[in-house]
């Protein structure tokens, strides 16, 4: 008995410890971590036992061991925290006393191993997050030093990186938001890993920050990146339909590690200002913000004054006659002044669209052919959007 325990202590890893106990007792065993993933097993474990453990993961989580009649399942708990489960492929009644003692000893040692691994992982994650925080906020003295340090986490920071920020569109309750963000992190990692070499993901202040290397020459444009993100977003929504709406902001590509902070701020700005265009599920590139960038520096009251001054006549006409001329004008600008596309968006005929625009000209007493007037109306429409979403 003493010899087997000594040998068990000397085995350093999970597989070694399982092997020792299997050698002395003949027990077939499985180790699952707290997520229910298989961490180790002896070679003779029956497939149906494994399948049962996989299928009844929820019962395991709820500490309900009734479905596992043919197995001996032991939860691995340390300081009231669950780290996993050790299961033997036979009922407890079939075990000899010595075998059961060794099984219990093994469960204690595996708990320690899983706890220790968890602590190390948490520490590595913490250090990694602190390092990435420094990169994102330019909190370092020398770029070379950061590039060297990045190699410890397999980050090739000497190459240009795109920065993308993802955030939920509606505020969620504390715990729920964190859990969903972790899910989002997992999903984005899965989707992007298939396309990019080692994307870097990090949760920072309720936002998911993604960095990925640009390996192509010439580099991808922001519109190409937006297309990739649209595809990734669709895949995530398909795999995880219950996920709340989220938006994506994309910064410009900067070539040095010292400029990642700028790209990060640009991505955050694109995400924030992009919501004035598309409040939910939007993908906005910093380069596409256009006049919104300038308008965001102006007081909301001033923007409101400008919008009322320019579009007041049209708004008054709409409210008196129940028309939607302002909406028509906004869609016309949104669709790049294309009559056919705007008509399609509004589900009306192109001629109806043409008539509505003529009506806008009549009501406002202006000609939409004049560039300065068109520009003023466009800016006023953008200002109105900001005002609507701010006040």
């Amino acid at each position: 008995m003493e010899k087997d325990k000594e040998e068990l202590w000397q085995a350093e890893d999970i597989a070694g410890k399982l092997r020792v106990v299997h050698g002395y007792t003949g027990l077939e065993m499985v180790l699952l971590d707290r997520l229910g993933d298989l961490r180790g097993a002896t070679p003779g474990v029956r497939e149906e036992s494994l399948s049962l453990l996989r299928r009844k993961r929820q019962a395991l989580q709820q500490q309900d061991f009734a479905p596992f009649t043919g197995l001996t399942v032991r939860p691995l708990v340390q300081n009231k925290q669950l780290w996993g489960w050790l299961a033997a492929d036979c009922p407890q009644a079939d075990m000899t006393e010595n075998a059961y003692c060794l099984f219990l000893e093994l469960s204690l040692q595996l708990t320690f191993l899983l706890w220790h691994e968890g602590e190390i992982n948490a520490m590595v994650r913490r250090h990694r997050e602190q390092f990435l925080y420094d990169v994102l906020y330019h909190n370092f003295a020398s770029s070379d030093e950061v590039i060297e340090m990045g190699k410890n986490w397999n980050m090739r920071l000497d190459r240009p990186h795109h920065v993308v920020v993802v955030e939920f569109d509606r505020p969620l309750q504390g715990d729920k938001q964190e859990i969903l963000l972790a899910e989002l992190d997992k999903e984005w990692t899965r989707v992007l890993s298939a396309r990019f070499v080692q994307p870097i993901l990090m949760l920072l202040r309720m936002q998911l920050v993604i960095l990925f290397e640009e390996s192509r020459t010439p580099p991808r444009s922001q519109s190409e990146l937006a297309e990739i993100m649209t595809g990734a977003m669709a895949q995530i929504k398909q795999a995880f339909p219950a996920i709340p709406p989220f938006s994506v902001g994309i910064g410009r590509l900067h070539y040095s590690v010292a400029e990642i902070c700028r790209s990060f701020q640009e991505a955050r700005q694109a995400l924030s200002l992009g919501r004035f265009r598309q409040p939910e599920n939007g993908i906005t590139c910093y380069e596409d913000l256009g006049v919104l960038k300038l308008l965001s520096h102006i007081r909301t009251e001033e923007l409101d004054d400008f919008a009322q001054e320019t579009l007041g006549t049209l708004m008054a006409y709409d409210s008196q006659n129940g028309t939607e001329l302002l909406h028509t004008l906004e869609i016309y600008f949104q669709e790049g002044e294309s009559l056919s596309q705007a008509a399609e968006k509004l589900f009306i005929h192109a001629n109806t669209m043409r008539n509505r625009l003529k009506k806008v000209e009549t009501v406002m007493g202006v000609s939409l052919n004049r560039a300065d007037l068109l520009c003023r109306l466009y800016v006023a429409c953008q200002a109105l959007r900001i005002v609507r979403h701010t006040l």
Partner: protein, 184 residues
């Protein structure tokens, strides 16, 4: 050190507008034409007047960092935004971009400068000069957790997220002595 966000907390009920914070900042930076911290008067909704003590708000998403072409700005893990004047070329972009006009161009150097939350005092375990000078403890240093305040004035400020907390002014309790004839 775990990333956090230090910020200023201003209790508008306590502030009496004595400008001690402003003077303390001026004392610490005697070469500045005007202190980084300034107290503005404003008309509140209910109180007759109020005072607002402002300096750099060490935003979560600093606009100065985004616009600086030389990468002069950095944000420490405690949230303080620092300006490195050695790299500064005095282009003034940060001055124009900051919604609070926190960075200033110094006439004698031609470079930008801004409040650094008295980082050397913080390192020595002391409070910033302005906080220490406030006689009514209206100005404090705090750790901003989660959302700061919901700014509505500028769309930009919703994104920059200044690390500033206000404790709203309460209606002061007034006790009037009445004369014998019932007049105040």
């Amino acid at each position: 050190m775990e990333p956090q966000q230090l910020g200023f907390q201003v209790d508008l009920s306590r502030c009496v507008g004595c400008r001690a914070c402003e003077k303390a900042c001026q004392h610490k930076h005697p070469d500045l034409p005007r202190a980084f911290r300034h107290v503005d008067e404003w008309d509140g909704d209910r109180r007759e007047q109020g005072f607002l003590s402002m300096s750099c708000n060490h935003c979560t998403s600093p606009e100065c960092m985004r616009v600086c072409p030389m990468g002069c700005y950095e944000k420490r893990r405690d949230g303080i935004v620092l300006h490195n004047s050695a790299k500064c070329i005095g282009c003034g972009r940060c001055v124009g971009a900051c919604p609070f006009h926190a960075p200033r161009l110094l006439p004698h150097t031609g470079k930008a400068a801004k409040c650094d939350m008295c980082q050397e005092r913080l390192a020595a375990g002391r409070q910033p000069q302005c906080v220490e000078a406030c006689p009514v403890e209206a100005l404090r240093l705090c750790n901003i957790e989660g959302e700061g305040i919901g700014w509505q004035d500028y769309p930009l400020v919703r994104y920059t997220q200044p690390s500033l907390k206000f404790i709203k002014a309460r209606q002061p309790l007034c006790f009037w002595r009445e004369d014998r004839d019932g007049k105040r």
